[in-house]
């Protein structure tokens, strides 16, 4: 049963990820990204990470993809080829693809990560454990992340402020 659910979710996520890469229209790409994130959230639920699945949907689907859609509608997306595959770039793409295929193949053939999940483990599903970890072991990263968010917010405000047109802008 779990295997079937995993296969369906994985297939769904991969197909939607391919949709992000292959769709010519950026809006369709954003919608595919949304569906792919839903698939990954389903996988998180299967891994008993309920809170993370919720946060993934909330942050990614709710905020990030919505922001992408706003920007896509704000900017002019027309014109230009969707693909670039010429000369050196095509060569680089082929080499990278071969490397990735080799890596995936090595993982599939030699990868023996072994063992099932511990049966009675409640790790990952308990909110109490998260908060305990966040406020003890990971207290410094939490502070740093707080500063990062503050700096990012200030940076966005500075970046999106309308600057005076200078002659060097063009």
């Amino acid at each position: 049963m779990e295997q079937i659910a995993f296969t369906c979710l994985a297939f769904f996520a991969v197909v939607c990820a391919l949709g992000v890469v292959l769709s010519k229209n950026a809006v369709n790409g954003a919608m595919c990204l949304l569906l792919c994130l839903a698939g990954v959230a389903g996988l998180f639920i299967q891994l008993h990470a309920y809170l993370l699945a919720f946060i993934l949907v909330l942050v990614y689907a709710g905020a990030v993809v919505a922001l992408f859609l706003f920007i896509i509608m704000l900017l002019d997306m027309q014109g230009g080829q969707p693909w670039k595959l010429r000369g050196l770039q095509a060569f680089g793409a082929v080499v990278s693809a071969l490397l990735l295929i080799t890596g995936l193949n090595a993982l599939a053939v030699h990868g023996r990560l072994g063992g099932g999940p511990p049966e009675a483990s409640t790790v990952g599903s308990s909110l109490e454990l998260y908060s305990y970890q966040l406020f003890t072991t990971y207290l410094l990263p939490v502070q740093v992340i707080g500063f990062l968010l503050l700096i990012a917010m200030l940076g966005v405000i500075v970046l999106s402020r309308r600057t005076r047109e200078t002659p060097e802008t063009k």
Binding site: V20, L52, I71, P82, L134, L159
Partner: protein
């Protein structure tokens, strides 16, 4: 029967590869950015899977941080793209070649 850790890692690598392909072959800055997000999500999937199969919490907690950084990164990146569009009226990477010439 439950899926193995191998299957999760394979799926994660596959999603990462698809995102990487998108970054390589697409020309639109925003689509490249979406593919970058896809790669980040693939990495989080691997972290959650390892965390679950090892019975530890650390991977899960790190996914928190990755999600936060990703949200901040998207905000800043999209602000940069909008500023770039204002200056150059294009988001195609081929036409953004001021440093090349």
């Amino acid at each position: 029967m439950t899926p193995t850790l191998d299957a999760y890692v394979m799926l994660s690598a596959l999603l990462f590869a698809i995102g990487f392909l998108g970054v390589l072959v697409r020309r639109n800055t925003l689509v490249i950015y979406m593919c970058l997000e896809l790669m980040l999500v693939a990495a989080t999937l691997a972290l959650v899977a390892f965390s679950r199969f090892n019975g530890t919490q650390d991977g899960d907690v790190f996914v928190f941080f990755i999600l936060t950084v990703a949200a901040a990164e998207v905000a800043v990146g999209l602000a940069i793209i909008v500023a770039l569009f204002r200056a150059r009226q294009t988001v195609q990477v081929d036409q953004l070649d001021s440093l090349k010439h």
